[in-house]
């Protein structure tokens, strides 16, 4: 390849931003450039430089955070240093919602207008924002701030939510929830530098069960200082890793198989099968990835775990890496989670300092280290193969499967991908053994599950219950239906899940029972809507979400999500083409094609919640033409 750069030049600040990533000392978070290429990443031409393409996303983050947008000069300089064609880097930069390739004010408020917040004041908040700051995306001349609507920010237990990003020499990302117009205005005025106390103190409300003796996964919440390794160890931390290292990798994998642990990221795939496959792979290097991209609307459990018990995630990743022979772990962390990022960064650094990560973990001949990669506003990057592309510096487009990640994953190597929640289950499996773990829950759904309760529920938050608990029991654990008290619908599993009616609350929450009624536990979302909510608007928001988040690669999803949204708008506005029945038939055909012919889970489930509402709640039955 003959790298053709443009004539645009970076200014000093842009150049520094790029250099700050590429010239960072080796001990920094990009140390893995050496890992991949075995060479230093001097601005060399050829293979060595090209092998640094995986630094494209961190470099784009650095530019965006320093300047507030990615200019032609900045992109050109990044391309020169990374030996990436500008057109490809542009394709990557324009893939992520948190990046801008057009001039943009440095301070931006992202105000959640997604479904949980919709049920709790988001509409009013957005109207107030528009009144005070103009239409979304508009920035007055000379103004240094603007605002946007945002999809779910993963703080649905404290609605309405917002996030303020401020670019500059000391960039900041501030999560605000619950938030009112005045606080947003103040944060914007302070360029994001509000005190963070309000964030931390809200954890009490994020885990209403905190302190209860029955908790397993959440047992340390509020009982430890999440920033202190000693505090974690004092609460039993790192005993599981010791145990695992004593057992040896083969035995750890056997215990995970025996536990019958199913993945908690949405697909419910047996963890043991993946671990076995990666452990028995014959190539090195191989990788382990903790999927912390959590962007399914209504989901916030992984965020709470990372904020409240970050060392547990580090320890669990270490066990996974050691057991499957991966020397390198990545945690792909959602870009909109500033506190989780801070705590995970700190936890990894402390663990490394204490010899719990590094070339010989706990003095054993086991090398393992973790690098954090931040997402940049793309739900699709939670899909495991899109995540690989994102880390590698390509557009976050899912790959076709097969081949599966355990054979051909990150950088083409065998890769173990697990969700945050899946991984922390491994701590108890290592401590108690797989059989003891399998005794909890039901025959096919073993262990406990984290559920994210939001919407019209009295005490929203993350709840931990054994599989088999009924939906009704879970709702009463959370204090019952709030709002006006008259339940209209429950969204189970997220935007890619299913709506259930109040008549279906006896449903036991297990993978098998939900499957038989055509529902899914998905990522553990349980969102309640009272009967004052206009469900048609909720469906419109879900349809808009999928249209926004489709990667655009395959036709059924790229166009199907657009046609689905248009159809819903026509049905809601009573402006159908032909009869209502006709349009619903067409909606179902669109759904069928997306389900059958899309490349990945996004397109395959983009019609799921919508079709379930139309069918179960007979939403458009009253209409005729």
């Amino acid at each position: 390849m003959d790298l053709h750069l443009t004539s645009d030049t970076p200014n000093a600040a842009e150049q520094l931003a790029v250099d700050s990533v590429l010239d960072a000392p080796e001990s920094g978070f990009i140390s893995d450039a050496h890992f991949i290429s075995g060479e230093a990443y001097a601005p060399a031409a050829g293979h060595a430089a090209r092998a640094n393409r995986h630094l494209l996303l961190p470099v784009l983050h650095a530019i965006q955070e320093r300047i507030g947008w990615i200019s032609p000069g900045a992109l050109n300089y990044a391309c020169q240093r990374l030996t990436v064609p500008p057109t490809e880097a542009y394709g990557v930069a324009t893939f992520y919602a948190l990046f801008s390739v057009q001039p943009k004010p440095p301070v931006v408020a992202h105000v959640c207008d997604d479904i949980a917040c919709m049920a709790n004041g988001a509409e009013t908040l957005c109207a107030e924002m528009a009144e005070r700051f103009g239409a979304p995306g508009s920035a007055e001349q000379d103004s240094n701030l603007t605002w946007h609507h945002s999809p779910c920010l993963g703080m649905c237990e404290r609605p309405p939510a917002a996030m303020v990003t401020a670019a500059g020499v000391t960039p900041s990302t501030t999560a605000l929830a619950p938030v009112g117009i005045d606080e947003i205005a103040q944060t914007l005025a302070d360029r994001g530098h509000t005190n963070k106390a309000s964030e931390a103190s809200t954890s009490v409300r994020s885990v209403p069960q905190a302190g209860s003796e029955e908790l397993r996964l959440l047992r340390r919440v509020d009982r430890i200082d999440p920033d202190d390794l000693a505090s974690y160890c004092g609460a039993g931390g790192y005993r599981a890793l010791e145990r695992a290292l004593d057992m040896g990798p083969a035995q750890v994998v056997r215990e995970v198989v025996a536990s019958k642990l199913l993945g908690r990221g949405g697909a419910a795939f047996p963890a043991g099968v993946k671990w076995q496959a990666v452990a028995s792979a014959e190539t090195q290097p191989r990788y382990m990835i903790c999927n912390a991209d959590e962007s399914e609307p209504g989901t916030f459990k992984d965020r709470v775990v990372m904020e409240e018990d970050p060392f547990a995630v580090v320890e669990a990743m270490t066990i996974a890496g050691a057991a499957t022979g991966c020397g390198k772990g990545y945690i792909y962390l959602r870009g909109e989670y500033p506190l989780a990022l801070e705590r995970m960064t700190n936890a990894i650094a402390q663990a490394r300092g204490a010899g719990l990560l590094g070339s010989s973990v706990l003095g054993h001949e086991v090398p393992f280290d973790i690098e954090i990669r931040r997402g940049a506003g793309a739900y699709i990057c939670g899909e495991e193969t899109a995540l690989f592309n994102s880390i590698e510096g390509f557009r976050g487009e899912p790959r076709n499967k097969p081949p599966f990640p355990t054979e051909v994953g990150l950088f083409g190597k065998p890769t173990l991908v697990n969700n945050v929640e899946t991984l922390i289950n491994v701590l108890d499996i290592a401590l108690e053994g797989g059989d003891a773990f399998a005794a909890i829950g039901t025959e096919q759904s073993t262990g406990t599950k984290l559920f994210c309760l939001s919407g019209h529920v009295a005490r929203p938050g993350v709840y931990e219950v054994p599989f088999g608990t009924t939906l009704e029991e879970l709702i009463s654990l959370a204090g019952g239906v709030a709002g006006n008290g008259r339940l209209q619908a429950v969204l189970l599993g997220g935007a890619a899940g299913t709506f259930l009616t109040p008549q279906e609350l006896a449903l036991p929450l297990t993978f098998e029972a939900t499957r038989t009624v055509g529902a899914t536990l998905g990522s553990g979302v349980v969102m309640l809507f009272d009967d004052s909510v206009n469900m048609q608007n909720v469906l419109l928001r879900i349809a808009a979400f999928f249209r926004d988040e489709s990667c655009g690669q395959c036709v059924p999803c790229r166009v199907g999500t657009v046609r689905q949204e248009e159809l819903l708008h026509r049905l809601v506005a009573d402006k159908t083409i032909g009869s209502v029945a006709n349009e619903i038939h067409l909606l179902n055909e669109v759904g069928q094609a997306m389900r059958d012919a899309s490349i990945c889970g996004l397109g395959q489930t983009a019609s799921s919640a919508i079709e379930s509402a139309v069918a179960r709640m007979e939403l458009f039955n009253g209409k005729s033409h």
């Binding site: 390849m1 057109t87 542009y90 097969p402 926004d548 655009g552 708008h569 402006k575 490349i599």
Partner: protein, 348 residues
């Protein structure tokens, strides 16, 4: 851009008088020492070498499967999904163009589920893209009884650069009485070819041909996300400012006429483009010693476009600016030719 643009003796000659036969038609991977895999397609048992795709296995039985994003010479991207088939035991349909055979597979290529998905894919494309110069796609639409009108009349065209500047993660609410399309102004920024992205089905072929699979120039890539995804240069700069070397390989693979010779575009606009009156002559480019096969499309004794047969062992369909566009200089009056030549060299 390579600085080897030659300044002088730009006088290609054409071996009109010595048409050469086309190369062999591409076939499924050679039957070699590879183990044979047995599977059943539409109830018929077959056995093909390991590594064969379902598409080739089906073609071996004489079963045809539509394809849009697939091309022998390019790495399968399996994005159009018009080739999907039903595979027993699979929750979803699978793309025939890239899925490899496995022992015991039971495949159906014409079930109602398959037909529905293919029909929907074709409707999705035809309701959002101008397919008027995509005859292959139109033929599939007839075969699958696609009715793109079901989604309403086409919505308004995007004005200049609106689609180029679309922001990921945000879109305007749909208009109520029409189906959104990708319609937008044609990009005319050089003398040699135009880009009419109103006709783009985003098959990725041009990107592959410009990048790793052939040209290694990386002048164009996919930008944006979702329905706003688009083929673009960096910051949507005009082609002369991009890395483009005008090899025209992207034109050669584009299945919809979105990328079109300027000559064809102008003739179509003038109403003088007449495929029925055109003949094709195969020859060898004499500009350099590589020996690229050319296929000259001639109307009224004038060359109107130059392709290279995909099957050609030498070119695999790819040419360089001289073979692809050199005829323009030959046919144009002297002054114009000089100008065009300067343009081409400036952009090389």
């Amino acid at each position: 851009m390579p600085p080897e643009a030659e300044q002088s003796d730009f006088t290609p000659t054409w071996q009109f008088l010595n048409p050469v036969p086309r190369g062999p038609v591409p076939k499924a991977p050679e039957e070699s020492a590879q183990p044979e895999i047995e599977l059943t397609i539409d109830g018929r048992e077959t056995s093909v070498p390991e590594g064969t795709t379902l598409l080739h296995a089906a073609r071996g039985l004489g079963i045809d499967t539509p394809t849009l994003c697939y091309l022998e010479s390019l790495t399968p991207v399996n994005v159009c999904r018009v080739c999907v088939v039903e595979l027993e035991g699979s929750r979803t349909l699978v793309p025939a163009c890239s899925r490899k055979v496995e022992p015991g597979m039971q495949v159906r290529t014409d079930s109602p589920r398959v037909r529905l998905s293919r029909r929907m894919v074709l409707e999705f494309l035809a309701s959002s893209v101008d397919v008027s110069t995509a005859p292959e796609l139109q033929a599939y639409m007839d075969e699958y009884e696609a009715e793109p009108e079901r989604y309403g009349p086409p919505g308004p065209a995007a004005s200049d650069s609106v689609r180029d500047n679309a922001v990921p993660g945000h879109h305007d609410s749909p208009v109520l009485d029409a189906a959104e399309t990708v319609e937008q102004p044609v990009k005319i920024d050089n003398e040699l070819y135009i880009r009419d992205y109103s006709k783009c089905i985003l098959c990725y072929k041009c990107v592959e041909a410009c990048g790793e699979d052939a040209q290694n120039t990386f002048a164009i890539a996919v930008a944006g996300r979702g329905f706003d995804a688009r083929i673009s240069t960096e910051f949507a700069v005009p082609l002369p400012d991009s890395a483009c070397v005008y090899c025209g390989n992207c034109i050669g693979v584009c299945p919809t006429g979105a990328l079109m010779f300027r000559s064809e575009f102008d003739m179509r606009a003038a109403g003088t483009w007449d495929e029925a009156a055109q003949s094709e002559t195969d020859t060898i480019c004499s500009y350099c010693g590589v020996g690229c096969s050319l296929s000259l499309h001639i109307q009224d004794n004038e060359i109107v476009k130059v392709m290279s047969p995909l099957e050609s062992e030498v070119t695999k369909g790819n040419l360089c600016i001289k073979g692809r566009f050199g005829w323009q200089f030959m046919q144009q009056p002297k002054k114009e030719a000089d100008e065009a030549q300067e343009d081409a060299q400036a952009s090389e």
